[in-house]
């Protein structure tokens, strides 16, 4: 791979904290643009291919997660390098064989436009399929989190829900969340940025181990 191609690949990858790459795409719910989701959180996720077993378990799991996500103002949108007709057939098959209705749109990214914009194709794994990527986009269209799983490994829906809860808690309360945090547990108070603030932190009434490590309940 020459330097120019490498640079293009690097530039093509989305970055946390920046506006999510805009797109217009054909989906099972008609033509959709990223801007159509403005005001809602969006989980844009890719799967390798329709009519494959791990992807089928994931679609069922995403569909089962959808009501919890809806309560949190989160929309779902799937994607793979398959046609709309393939998506429609697969979604109908899931409903027929597993009794699960897929409520979210699925992008038919045959020209790989969206997959390329979001860096969903990992050539080391497959040049013709998208890996199992998850992009969390906030109501302002900013990319807030990314998860990449390999072709072989189905994603953990509870972790995705936990991630949404953590991001929304951060936005609402201006805090961070510790390892394995779940809603209802103590959160991290951002460390003080000055020596004076560090001194004050010790007397601030938080659960403080040291000036840089404070937790509190919400």
């Amino acid at each position: 791979m020459d330097t120019t191609t490498q640079e293009k690949d690097v530039l093509g990858f989305p970055r946390l904290g920046q506006p999510a790459p805009v797109f217009e795409a054909e989906t099972t719910h008609g033509t959709l643009r990223l801007e159509d989701f403005k005001g809602s959180w969006l989980i844009l996720f890719s799967h390798p291919a329709d009519f494959t077993p791990v992807c089928t378990t994931e679609f069922i799991a995403f569909a089962e997660l959808a009501p919890e996500l809806k309560k949190r103002g989160v929309e779902l949108c799937g994607l793979s390098i398959d046609s709309t007709y393939s998506h429609i057939a697969w979604v109908r098959n899931i409903e027929e064989k597993f009794g699960v209705k897929i409520p979210f749109p699925v992008i038919a990214d045959l020209n790989k436009n969206v997959a390329t914009l979001y860096g969903m194709i990992m050539p080391g794994e497959s040049k013709t399929e998208t890996s199992r990527c998850v992009f969390v986009i906030d109501p302002n269209g900013v990319l807030r989190a990314m998860i990449y799983y390999p072709l072989t490994t189905g994603r953990n829906m509870q972790e995705i829900l936990r991630l949404i809860d953590a991001l929304q808690t951060t936005d609402k309360h201006g805090v961070a969340t510790p390892a394995n945090w779940k809603p209802g547990e103590k959160v991290i108070v951002p460390p003080p940025a000055t020596a004076e603030a560090a001194e004050a932190r010790m007397k601030a009434g938080f659960e403080t181990k040291d000036w840089y490590f404070s937790k509190k309940s919400l």
Binding site: H29, T31, D36, E75
Partner: protein
């Protein structure tokens, strides 16, 4: 959600969106009324504009003559 189906008829959802627009209801309220996600209402509105049934005036959506006719037609068929 193409607003016009392959036989040239307006879809049920498109008819609902068009009727709500005729009442001057904003898109977020149409989403609540129809229990459809806002992104579908937005894409549906765009398709209605592309079909010449609706035009935008600032933030508002206004039915064109063709849109009025389509709405009348749809309510006759209902």
């Amino acid at each position: 959600m193409p607003c016009i189906d392959s036989s040239g008829h307006m879809t049920e959802i498109a008819a609902k969106i068009l009727a709500a627009m005729a009442d001057g209801v904003p898109l977020n309220e149409i989403a609540e009324k129809t229990d459809l996600p806002l992104y579908r209402i937005r894409s549906g509105a765009r398709e209605l504009v592309e079909a010449g049934l609706v035009e935008t005036k600032g933030e508002a959506y206004v039915l064109t003559e063709a849109g009025q006719a389509a709405l009348t037609n749809a309510s006759r068929q209902a």
